[in-house]
Symmetry: D2
Subunit: 144 residues, 4 copies
């Protein structure tokens, strides 16, 4: 993920206010918290698509893998714009990418991605992405 | 990272007790917490090598990128063994890999990796990994 | 703190967006996170008063005690208004109270309080609240 | 809670390893994390008593109020002993107190308390503490 990441790649946006407690003893936002920032954006988008998770039905999304490239440290106080888009939809999973920008700027704090399986929670295994979701995910496609 | 990950690849081990609060509303350990588990292992190992971070000197490690593959969900109560090793040492950075196993078993909960730059905190840029650290990192080499 | 807590007691307000990850395995915001919500409000207010903490000078605030009464559970998605006021200013400490309301309503999710000492970080002990801060704190006085 | 808190008051103990990420930008364990430490001890004890929570039945514990007095800052690396006891059992709730000590010493890092209601999760209101739990809680009584 060393290539350029720009705002125009993303199709869904969330604004996040950095909390003082997001920082660690190094005095900047802790690495694990970037994944929480991505989760905020992902849960919001999937929630809008009616695909929120376990509580809502027998099938839903589950994280398979996630990566984050840290480009600039973030220090409180700060406000961030998290862009997300669906990069690829496979048979049983889909891939999302994320751009964490300093609010209102093109300055990238981090670039991230996730692969999310569509799972049967009861059976504990991936099942085909349903057609209704596939259509919805397509509306949020973006290219990296 | 779809290849096999086994305990014998790792050269440094930390035992972690899962906290009830590590779980999220899905009833399993939240994805961001796996990065905290890796951080626990990384900070311990780097601390033993005398390379702990900002407070200890003008140069130190900084996370550049990190990835996690989630293999099995973790539910409280659980105890984990986090294995770590140095996979590669470059000029200005080194790469570590992590295996998060259920305690005392070969059952893998997650496999992770990180690239850590060696940085001049003041200048905000990567500098060559010092020889003393290079030698120490070599002692924890492992192969994936 | 079983008495009534109402919005008109508070003199400083912060709006907080609940993050999905603030919830625990019970499916509601975890108890420890309420203290983070109070911290967000406290750090903002003290920051505006120029009293932010360790990094900013040899003297600053330190939490001595904190309490929270949980009145209504909070479930994602939710937006909260956190009200805060200075209830009392002593010689070496001051007491703040907090009301966590559901956004735009009089419905109280939690009522909290904290005693904050003014400390000499180097010496590790409380010192008199300086006059400049005392005057500033007075502007945010409220009554419970 | 300014009175003396000593190890002999507590009837149940948990050992906790401080995680590097428990620290905040002040370089010590964040105030909210002390409540997580108490939660670890409470969940363990209640789990042993078969009173774990929502997932296990229609009735269970819910936190009503919690307080913490911070006595000594905790800095990574550190290991803590968290002592807990049941101070009082009422009709619909019980009160627990906690002592967070530096491992293997009488040095107190924090003293805390909580009031826990016994609730009907469906109805969302407190119900009488059942006799079986009352007897179990009595076995962990301690005096402050």
């Amino acid at each position: 993920m060393s290539e350029t990441v720009t705002r125009d790649q993303f199709t869904y946006w969330t604004e996040i206010e950095v909390r003082w407690g997001d920082m660690d003893a190094q005095g900047h936002v802790n690495n694990a918290v970037y994944f929480t920032y991505c989760e905020i954006a992902r849960v919001k988008l999937l929630g809008e698509l009616g695909a929120r998770g376990r509580a809502d039905g027998p099938h839903g999304p589950a994280l398979v893998t996630t990566t984050c490239d840290f480009r600039k440290q973030v220090v409180y106080p700060a406000r961030l714009d998290v862009g997300v888009c669906v990069e690829e939809v496979g048979r049983r999973s889909f891939r999302m990418i994320y751009g964490i920008f300093f609010h209102g700027t093109d300055e990238l704090a981090a670039a991230a991605s996730s692969v999310n399986a569509w799972v049967d929670y009861e059976a504990g295994r991936a099942v085909p992405v349903p057609d209704w979701l596939r259509a919805d995910l397509d509306r949020y496609r973006g290219e990296r």
